[in-house]
């Protein structure tokens, strides 16, 4: 492998330790792995990238554990990226998603990585995209991303996953909640978990009506609403079938899939752009930043003028 950086070569050879290391470096925002990411991104593209999102306590990790078992019984190699929130006060975190996946701990066909959101607000972590690049290059059959527990507007998963599974429960709110903009709009599959709860049937019907009257998430695809009990595996096979059906639909509608991929990549690049701009402003030499801030405070300058001066100096 001539000219391939050794660390990228190790990842391509399936080295979990090096993959873990590179994800840590990406999390630190260290740009010295850009050559590796360049190589790994070009080597990737074969994995299915499945997003699981939903409110805290809906059962995402338990559902994921169940999904992993079924996919492993089909001999598929699985990578998991499980994201939990960072403390807004200390910056620390307790990443507890592995507890639910403990029965897979010794399985060498699985890579599980916990990530703290580290201030990212869209349900993911800033380095989630780089982590997917690294895992995709290792040719896992499925990369499953579990977002932080989300509310209504954390939809960054759309920029990373091929397919978005939204977990709900019977306690997810009434009919008005279901027609609001945001997370419900992006769900390719809706799962109503804890289906033994009273009110599940009503929730399923409400969501089915909502789905029937909205724009399709992908051409030719009607978002199914499926009940599950992740603690005992009931309903999981129907979700697996729906995932397969979604990928068949993707394959059958080339033009629509291309459009969706373009929208997704646009979102991913925009996320990177936001991070880069923030970084660029943060590393500005203190005097120029301070001068601009003071100019805005004293109303010599309007905030947008300061932005132009700081970020696009050549044009102002």
């Amino acid at each position: 492998m001539n000219g391939i950086p050794p660390r990228a070569a190790a990842v391509l050879a399936g080295d979990h330790r090096m993959a873990g290391r590179l994800i840590t470096i990406a999390e630190a925002g260290d740009t010295d792995i850009e050559p590796e990411l360049g190589v790994l991104y070009r080597a990737g593209g074969s994995s299915r990238i499945i997003g699981i999102t939903g409110p805290p306590g809906a059962g995402k990790s338990t559902f994921l554990d169940c999904l992993i078992s079924r996919l492993r019984s089909l001999k598929r190699r699985i990578a998991v990226l499980a994201i939990d929130p960072s403390s807004p006060l200390s910056g620390g975190a307790v990443l507890g998603d592995r507890v639910r996946m403990q029965r897979h701990a010794e399985d060498r066909g699985i890579f599980i990585r916990s990530m703290a959101a580290r201030g990212a607000l869209g349900g993911l972590a800033h380095a989630a995209g780089d982590a997917v690049t690294i895992l995709d290059a290792m040719a896992f059959d499925d990369i499953i991303i579990e977002t932080v527990g989300v509310g209504q507007s954390e939809t960054d998963i759309l920029g990373l996953a091929d397919i978005v599974i939204l977990m709900q429960t019977a306690h997810g709110g009434d009919g008005i909640q279901s027609v609001k903009a945001g997370i419900l709009e992006i769900a390719d599959i809706i799962v109503v978990n804890k289906a033994d709860t009273v009110g599940t049937d009503r929730m399923i019907r409400t969501l089915q009506e909502m789905v029937a009257h909205r724009i399709q998430t992908a051409a030719g695809w009607d978002t199914p609403v499926l009940p599950t009990e992740a603690t005992n595996g009931a309903g999981i096979d129907a979700v697996l079938d729906a995932i397969d059906a979604f990928y068949r639909c993707r394959g059958a509608n080339r033009e629509a899939t291309m459009q969706r991929d373009r929208r997704r990549m646009r979102a991913r690049i925009l996320t990177l752009a936001q991070a880069a701009l923030r970084h660029r402003i943060n590393i500005l030499t203190e005097p120029s930043l301070l001068a601009a801030i003071d100019a805005v405070i004293s109303r010599v300058m309007e905030p947008r003028e300061a932005l132009k001066l700081l970020v696009f100096p050549a044009n102002s």
């Binding site: 330790r17 873990g20 290391r21 994800i23 307790v94 403990q102 010794e106």
Partner: protein, 131 residues
Amino acid sequence: MTVRCLLGMLGTDVHSKGIRTLAQVLRDAGIEVIYLGEHNSVAGMVRAVIDEDADIIGLSFSSAAYLEYIRQFVTAMRENGVGSVPLMIGGLIHPDDHLPLQEMGISGIFGPGSRMDAIIDFVRNKGGSLQ
């Protein structure tokens, strides 16, 4: 750089109060805790150290079998190329066992009466040492 600390318990030990308290204290000190909970196997925990690229590991014991578990764990760490990740031990650790633990390379032993700030300092210093 943010320190990532893996915390867990091996075997049949169910006394998780201490390690859960520690997880929260470390979180409040700005540490990212990868929490594995109880009932882990040696092999499973070593895989977690690898995939998670942990900077430091903390194991808690309230059962008598800890010397044997720690010996197996240290061996498995070394065999899997992660022998250099610092390891700390907490819980009901008898003073008589400090010497054999130190001989196995365990530098952080936090038995009954340990101070939280001493554990936080240890995690910050040792956890930052590999980076």
